[in-house]
């Protein structure tokens, strides 16, 4: 088995014409790790994923997947990857189980080994009773699970997931997270992009925060939060027209504050204490909420913008 990191990117770049989609990013992914690229839409995540998937050639820098150069060994690399693209590209002319069998054939696997493997993956994706259904008859969550099952047909060493739960309802997302968590427990290396901080926190051992094609920060979710944010956040709303004005007068309350159009965020070790201070100072927020700091706050701190806008 390949000993070192399964992915090594150094100063990786991709430019389209004059604009750089990926502008010199470097990271490594260890075997069995769940690694995330967190960033808003247009940050260069999908472009990076396409380069990791050996379907897009880098413009500059270096990239090694499983020790191989994707520019030279594309087919060998892709044989050992599972890819879950951002928008489902299931084969709509084929039935659910045939989608798995036919996809396995693309990897040169025999029908004999594919039969039991497809059945096991349908079980894993909780789609056994849909084996003979048409893809169009599946719900969004089911399609996503089928896409993930399909990506696992070749027993990949790395599973690449581009925005795996975007567009799914909360329940379907939780089912999917559960499945991905199981894969992680089995030791599958996961690389995923997301602009959902909760997804990144749930699934990733380590992540990079990406914005405008560059890496803003790197580390485990909890460490990033403690490095770039306070323990708690107090969210107070004074009405859209008043937020900025009130925030300016809050002075020394909290370690730091951010004014968003609809609310003021106050970063602090103890949210309840700061709320009491605000009330004591005579301000009357319309609503207030104390919560733990999240990756959203990290992103806001690093870029001055929200992840989901």
């Amino acid at each position: 088995m390949f000993p070192g990191p399964v992915i090594v990117a150094s100063d990786l770049r991709k430019t389209y014409g004059d604009s750089a989609a990926v502008d010199g990013i470097s990271f490594e992914v260890a075997p069995g790790e769940a690694f995330g690229l967190l960033g808003p839409n247009g940050a260069g995540k999908s472009t990076t994923m396409r380069m990791l998937g050996a379907v897009s050639q880098r413009t500059g820098g270096d990239l090694r997947i499983l020790g191989l150069d994707p520019d030279r060994s594309g087919p060998e690399i892709r044989a050992q990857l599972g890819v879950v693209p951002q928008s489902d590209n299931l084969d709509r002319e084929l039935k659910v189980r045939d989608n798995l069998i036919v996809y396995g054939r693309y990897f040169g696997m025999s029908r004999k080994e594919l039969g039991p493997r497809a059945d096991a993956l349908l079980e894993f994706a909780q789609l056994t009773d849909r084996a003979k259904a048409r893809v169009d008859q599946l719900s969004g969550g089911m399609k996503r699970r089928l896409t993930i099952a399909r990506a696992l047909i070749n027993d990949p060493r790395i599973l690449l997931l581009d925005e795996p739960t975007t567009g799914l309802d909360p329940q379907a997302r939780h089912v999917l997270w559960d499945r991905l968590f199981r894969l992680k427990e089995q030791g599958t290396t996961l690389v995923l992009t997301t602009h959902h901080m909760d997804e990144a926190e749930q699934l990733c051992d380590r992540l990079v925060v990406v914005d405008k094609g560059v890496i803003m920060a790197e580390g485990p979710p909890a460490e990033l939060i403690s490095r770039y944010s306070s323990r708690e956040v107090l969210e107070v709303r004074f009405g859209s027209d008043n937020n900025a004005a009130v925030a300016a007068r809050l002075g020394s309350i909290g370690e730091r504050s951010e004014v968003l159009p609809d609310r003021v965020l106050i970063y602090t070790a103890n949210g309840e204490r700061e709320l009491a201070a605000i009330l004591a100072a005579g301000f009357a927020p319309i609503t207030s909420l104390v919560r733990r700091s999240s990756l959203e706050d990290v992103f806001l701190r690093l870029t001055g913008r929200s992840l989901v806008e």
Binding site: P75, A79, E93, D98, N154, D155
Partner: protein, 274 residues
């Protein structure tokens, strides 16, 4: 993990670098499975079209026309004259159907190829597999049509058996070039141009009467177009009127296959692996 490593090593030696994994049969197999489960009615309609032409023009109109002089002195019934042309046309239609509209849809809407090249398949596997599918359809049409020709007594020589591989070659030429052209198309309007080109070619390529009815410059134009060569090749074989020019017809189609494959592979690589 061990099984995967073994499988990766078992990928056959690649003669075309990163564009070919030697697994076009997986793409062909996908096409057969898909056709079996959804498209067989379309397939059937493609087969029936030339049969209707044969019955209406060959037998119906043919009873008024009588016989036709092929230029070699032999007299042929009109049905026996146009049947091989319709056979070539059915191969063309089947191949064009698969390689243009179906490929266009898979390329732009179902994202099928995008999914395929994310596996260990290369763009050449995809191109070759899709063209083999078109060939298979063309060959099935041809077999069915030749059975009908045999039943109607329109196969006049033993060389008619060779019409089958000839028709497959015709299908290969059209499928290959059709897919190459389609890979450059971006809109449905552009796809209509293909149809705009095919209909006159079908009507004027010595399909229903000898090319000699035209003035010489027009004859040259017709002879420059691909269908003429298919029609003449298949007609020579089913009627047994053989000539050395038939080798040229074969060469014409071999060139179409080669040029089409090169452009298709390049284009798929540029579209999905850049």
């Amino acid at each position: 993990m061990i099984a995967v490593t073994a499988r990766a090593a078992a990928v056959p030696a690649r003669i075309l670098g990163s564009v070919y994994a030697g697994n076009a049969r997986a793409v062909l197999g996908r096409g057969i499975t898909a056709t079996r489960s959804s498209n067989w009615l379309v397939v059937l309609s493609g087969f029936l079209e030339p049969v209707f032409y044969l019955l209406s023009l060959g037998l119906g109109l043919g009873s008024v026309i009588g016989t036709i002089d092929t230029g070699g002195g032999a007299q042929l019934s009109y049905a026996a004259y146009i049947a091989p042309a319709l056979l070539a046309v059915s191969a063309m239609n089947g191949a064009i159907m698969d390689s243009t509209w179906n490929v266009f849809f898979k390329m732009h809407f179902s994202k099928l190829y995008e999914g395929m090249v994310a596996t260990s398949l290369g763009p050449f596997d995809v191109a070759l597999g899709e063209i083999l599918l078109a060939l298979l359809r063309g060959a099935m049409y041809a077999v069915g049509f030749m059975v009908i020709m045999q039943a109607l007594g329109l196969n006049l020589a033993w060389t008619a058996l060779l019409a089958l591989p000839a028709v497959v070659l015709v299908a290969a030429g059209f499928a290959s070039v059709g897919m190459a052209i389609t890979s450059f198309m971006k809109t449905f309007q552009q796809m209509d141009w293909v149809q705009f080109f095919l209909l006159p070619m079908f009507l004027f390529s010595a399909t229903f009467y000898p090319v000699t009815v035209y003035p010489v410059p027009i004859q040259w134009l017709v002879q420059a177009l691909p269908l003429y060569h298919g029609v003449e090749l298949v007609r020579g074989l089913t009627t047994g009127v053989l000539s050395p020019a038939m080798l040229l017809h074969v060469l014409y189609y071999l060139a179409m296959v080669a040029v089409g494959m090169v452009f298709t592979t390049r284009r798929l690589k540029a579209l999905f692996l850049s």
